[in-house]
Symmetry: C2
Subunit: 202 residues, 2 copies
DNA sequence: TCTCTTGTTATACAACCGTATAACAGGGAA
DNA sequence: TTCCCTGTTATACGGTTGTATAACAAGAGA
């Protein structure tokens, strides 16, 4: 004699709220389970929602992943901008703040890196993710070039921005990947040193 | 009336050869299809072999992926060492050769990066991959420290090695990810500049 | 030429995948 | 309080996943 299970209770949420919850669950799942372990069912379980609901808000899992990349990218850029605004208002302090924010929370975060790595790897497979990657990195580069121009007006900062981004990314990567044989403070000092080498005092 | 298909022809290969073929097929599949698209059947199809054979040489797909990481890691390290040996025998030339080899084939390669990104992302999920990552990066760091010590004996090169590795990794990443707004030559020049800044002439 | 080992294929299996569909019920509108 | 819309759940489907198993045949040894 099998008693029929009653249908689970639920509550109706505003569309924005549900979309955000699914995006956050997607990011968390990518971080904790990797690309391989991220499925519709896993994401929806994390969001505390039945699997079918995903397709009520997104055309499919690929769209959710892309939207998640866009959201996380905007979130990182916002954290970088916050660090700049919180710094002393001199051009140099703002520049240093932008560069070294990557070595402190919320950017130096193991889960964020895991999610980011998943996106990087998808870049080679998924054309939409690749396009988002280009947009996100272009915006980051433009912001950095603007800060460089405020500090040392007039010259072309394209290569300088590339050089700084590469070092910061490399340090952030090893730092957040775990077991890195250096501290955030050392990373900060290296970034400042690289900046000084690239922009010698006139 | 269905004619029974005859069983496919095959030839028996030495164990080493088959293992290598499967490892190469695994790397190629990770590069072209990503983690998501890499399955037992896909790998074996690439290797031109029936799906069951994978488990004759490896305990499962996870072991094959780990062995592939080890093989690719050794291959990269060998390419770096080759570049050093091909350089002029001065300590400085050997050091520069080691650093800039990442911006030329076979290391600056889109497929290699794709595979490498897949491994990076697995680092957070798979403990065996994480251990391999630590070993590979430790060996890379030790080699670099040795080259640094030959060039500037006596001092502690731990942080210098970290700084150089981070910049080279960051440049290699953006370069191989595609659409990078800089050339391999510019990357080489930046690496040399960073080295000069870190090791000022006495 | 024949035999025997074993590398290889073929097939089966349960579990999972993303998606489609229909039944249900939460909760605002009347 | 009642109604009705629709956000949500439940279930089903075909396809794919990793792995287990048995049948087969390649090719070396006798």
């Amino acid at each position: 004699m099998q008693a029929k299970e009653p249908r689970a209770q639920f509550h109706r949420a505003p569309a924005d709220e549900r979309r955000l919850a699914l995006i956050e669950a997607c990011a968390a799942t990518l971080a904790r389970k990797g690309v391989h372990g991220t499925s519709v069912r896993e994401i929806c379980a994390t969001a505390g929602v039945s699997p079918g609901l995903l397709r009520h808000y997104f055309s499919g899992i690929d769209e959710l992943v892309a939207d998640t990349y866009a959201a996380i990218g905007a979130q990182v850029q916002a954290a970088l901008n916050d660090a700049v605004e919180a710094a002393d208002p001199t051009p140099e302090a703002r520049l240093i703040a932008y560069l070294t924010a990557s070595f402190a929370p919320p950017i130096a975060d193991a889960d964020l890196l895991s999610t980011w790595l998943a996106f990087w790897s998808l870049t080679r497979t998924d054309a939409k993710i690749a396009r988002l990657h280009d947009e996100i990195y272009a915006e980051n580069r433009i912001t950095l070039e603007r800060l460089l121009d405020a500090h040392a007006p007039g010259s072309d900062h394209r290569l300088t921005a590339i050089a700084l981004t590469a070092l910061v990314d490399g340090l952030w990567l090893e730092l957040s990947l775990g077991n890195a044989p250096f501290t955030p403070d050392e990373a900060t000092a290296l970034a400042a040193r690289w900046l000084a080498a690239l922009l010698p005092r006139i």
